[in-house]
Structure formats: C-alpha cells, structure tokens
Symmetry: C2
Subunit: 264 residues, 2 copies
C-alpha cells in the first residue's frame, strides 16, 4: 500500500512525522532526512530547491501517494517551483501554520521565527498578508537555535540569554501569536514561552499539517483501509547520529535507519 | 602559471589561504569552499571523503600544482585515502599543527579542540603519539564554536560561558599547549586564551601549513618565479554569504566569488 512521503534536511521533520503518525496511525510513512547536506537554513533558494527536487524523486521511487515537505526552509524556497509539477500532491509546512496563527491572533500582531533562509524569503509574511492584509508581522531569524537543539542545549542560562536577544523584537512589537517557523523550535517551547509569557500563543504547524494531509487523502479517497501503518526511515548520511537524535524529536527510538544516496 | 589549490567545507579555510598568500605572495591560488554542503564536522568519514574527492577533482580542472586540504575534518577523515592517489601533492592541516605543538609543549600535556568528526576520528591523538608516545593528549569537541564564529559571536557572556564549559577538561588536565583543530577557531583566540590563561600556547596550524607548502614547492622546483600571484575564489553555493564572511576570516574583502557545481 502506498505511503505518505516526508522529507526534511535532517532530523527536524521528525516533529512533523510524529504528528502524522499520531493522526494517521494506519498510514504507511517513508521519511527521508538529507543528513549529508544538512542544514538547509543557510543555503540559497536555488540550492535548496535542487536538493528538494532530488529528495522528491527519491521518495517517488518509494511508492508514495503524497509528499510532505517537513522543512520550513524547503517549503519557503522550493514549494512554488515543485508544488504542481509532480504526480502526487505536495504539502508544505508554511500555509497550515499561517492559517492557524491568523485564527489565533486577537490583536493582529503575529511574530515569526525561523532560519535565515526562511526569514529572508519573506514567505510567511506574504502568506499571512494573503489571509489578512491587516496583520502586522514581525519576523526574526534565530540561527543558533538549530545548533542548540541538535547539541541538546534545551535549557540553561546560555540558551536563555541567546533566546532573550532573538525574541526581544517580538516582545517590543507586542505580538500575541508566534509561529515556530522551523521544525527544531518546538523543542525550545519552554524557553520561548518563558521569555514571551504565557499570554502569547505559540504555533507549531505539525498538528495542522497532519490534519491537512488527512483531509487531502480523504477527499481523494487515498486513505489506507488496512490497520497499523509501517514506517521507514532513510537518510543520506550518519544513520547512527539520526537514530540517537530521534528520541529527542520523535519521543521514541527509531531502529533500522537506512543510509541511501539521493543524488540524481 | 599553475596555482596552489585550497579547499574547505566553507569559509574556515580562508584563515589558511590568508597565511599561504602572506608567505607566498607570488603564487597563484585557487580556493574552493563547498558551501552547498557545509558543514563537514557533523558528517560521516565516508561522506566527507566523497566530498573531498569531488573537491580535489574540481581543483585539478583549474590547473593546480599542489592541493591544501584546509579543513581539519576533511584532513582527519579523507587524507589517508587521498594523500598519494592524485597527480599532485596533497597537504593536510593536521600534521603541521601536531609537529608545532609537540615542539612547543614543555610538560608533554597537549590539548586538542575541534569538530565532532575531527575529535571522533582520533587523528590528532594518533599523529601526536607517532611524534612522541609520551605525550598525554586531551581532546574535546566544541560543536557550537563554528556556529558562533559564523554568526559573528566572537565575544560576550554567552560565548564565554559555552567556552568555559568546553575547555574545562583541558584546564583540569593541566595542558600547556592547545591545538586549535578547526580553521574557525583562530577567530575565538581571545576568548580561548582568556579562559586557559596566558601560560598556555595556542597552536593555529595555518603558519606551519603555509611553511610546509613553501618547502615542498621549493624542493620540487615548482615555485612561481613571476611577481604578484592571482587569487580566485569558487564556492558551490551562496557567493554573497561567502564574500560577507571573508572580511572576518581573511581580513579583507573578496570580490568576484564564483558559484560553480562541484558534483562529479
């Protein structure tokens, strides 16, 4: 039975895969993490788009019926190019997060945090304005958050002090809703919430992404009617490193991670 | 006239290129930074070796007479495979740093700091022991140093506090000499020296690497007899980002950085 394909630059997309598995427990899932070329957040639109196309071609070889781009940078840069050009639906993580944030915000001031690439692309701003032109968007790049999460620095004075510096413009702008525009950031939720205060809503798009995938599969009558989906995990490098980080992102161990070559 | 080829995963190798240009002002130099796949420090030996071979093949197309692997991770992982297999001499950055450190150390306790890959490879330990089996080596990975340098966080409480944590094992081991086993680390010299104290000698292998290149070119009668070398800079992604960081690493602006595809 065909699977849901998910790709990311590395491990971050596992926060999205986890939610897809939770909401669609009967679906097969194939995950690809491009760990040989991670991270994407500092790379150019052209290069991220090329990598994304290579990842999609790899997933299509694995018999997938839908592909989720579980990486904000790839969604920002590549989605316009790849969205309607392949033989299966391709879902990014920007639009679902945007929709949720616009509904959640009362004061129409929304903050966005992400990688340099995601913020520079201004994709979040553009999509938010399309939903509601009146929203004031404050977008900030937080380049040290990904290394912190991957090194397991999820709390403590160092992380707090960097986070305070990054998040200050959001506090000054008086946002009531903040989009966690990078799949690594949900792991820093306690730190971010602590700094912004409990009155600020943090939007982690994973739930909304999984919900949208469910809707599309249902409407196209592609839902798996069998029981108990199977999950396969592929990476382009370092399967052991991926496995060891998976616990942090998936909440459980992943065994049998296979190394493959995704170069076309 | 043939050039000296230099490659690195990204911008770090510019600290080595700068020293080569200083000691060999009449030589042409071709630099390649693999910015599409940076960083190498978290990737597997197989992948780093594959990338290194692709970089070497690119440089050989540019008419080089010698290649310098200006990246500690690539030197650690790939040098044993690539050293004697190409048609020009290939020089890494490990051996020159080791030699200088062994000469500098009085108490025979040497510290090494580097990326995860470099430290995990134990290449520094092996090479130090080959010079002097009595030396006690303490090696520590400092994975957040590269992101700090690339983000321009070269001082301040955050960097100090992370550096104190990383360097503590070196202080406890009582080392009198520390090898900066990553081309980014010379930019953190003031922080590192401040924590370790002025009695500790920091070894930045760039000077020694340039000196060794000079020696080899002289002995093979390959030195350029003309005046005023030309310098070319290529990257696999983001020439603007590379140019903007070059000031920090080279001490001067680099114009005309060309983007090329180094995939074989």
């Amino acid at each position: 039975m065909s699977a849901i394909g998910v790709f990311d630059s590395g491990v971050g997309g596992l926060t999205v895969a986890r939610e897809i598995i939770r909401q669609l427990p009967n679906e097969n899932l194939v995950y690809f993490g491009d760990t040989a070329r991670v991270p994407y957040g500092i790379k150019s639109p052209q290069t991220v788009t090329r990598f994304s196309i290579e990842n999609i071609l790899f997933l299509l070889k694995q018999d997938v019926k839908l592909i989720c781009v579980a990486c904000n940078t790839a969604s920002s840069f590549a989605l316009p190019v790849i969205k309607n050009n392949f033989r299966v639906p391709i879902i990014g993580v920007i639009n679902p997060g945007v929709r949720e944030a616009v509904y959640a915000s009362q004061n129409k001031r929304i903050g966005v945090i992400g990688t340099k690439g995601t913020i520079k692309s201004r994709t979040y701003e553009t999509e938010i304005k399309q939903f509601d032109p009146k929203v004031k968007v404050t977008a900030v790049a937080c380049p040290l958050f990904v290394p912190f999460v991957e090194e397991g620095w999820l709390s403590g004075e160092v992380v707090l002090s960097v986070a305070r510096k990054y998040l200050n413009p959001l506090k000054e702008a008086g946002v009531d809703t903040v989009i966690l525009g990078c799949t690594h950031y949900p792991l820093l939720k306690p730190v971010i919430q602590g700094i912004l205060g409990s009155q600020v809503t943090l939007i982690d798009s994973a739930k909304q992404v999984a919900f949208e995938i469910k809707k599309i599969l249902a409407s196209e009558e592609l839902l798996n009617r069998g029981k108990g989906g199977k999950h396969k995990f592929y990476v382009s490098d370092n399967p052991e490193w991926f496995s060891s980080l998976a616990q942090r992102f998936m909440g459980r161990k992943i065994l049998n991670v296979k190394k493959v070559d995704n170069n076309v």
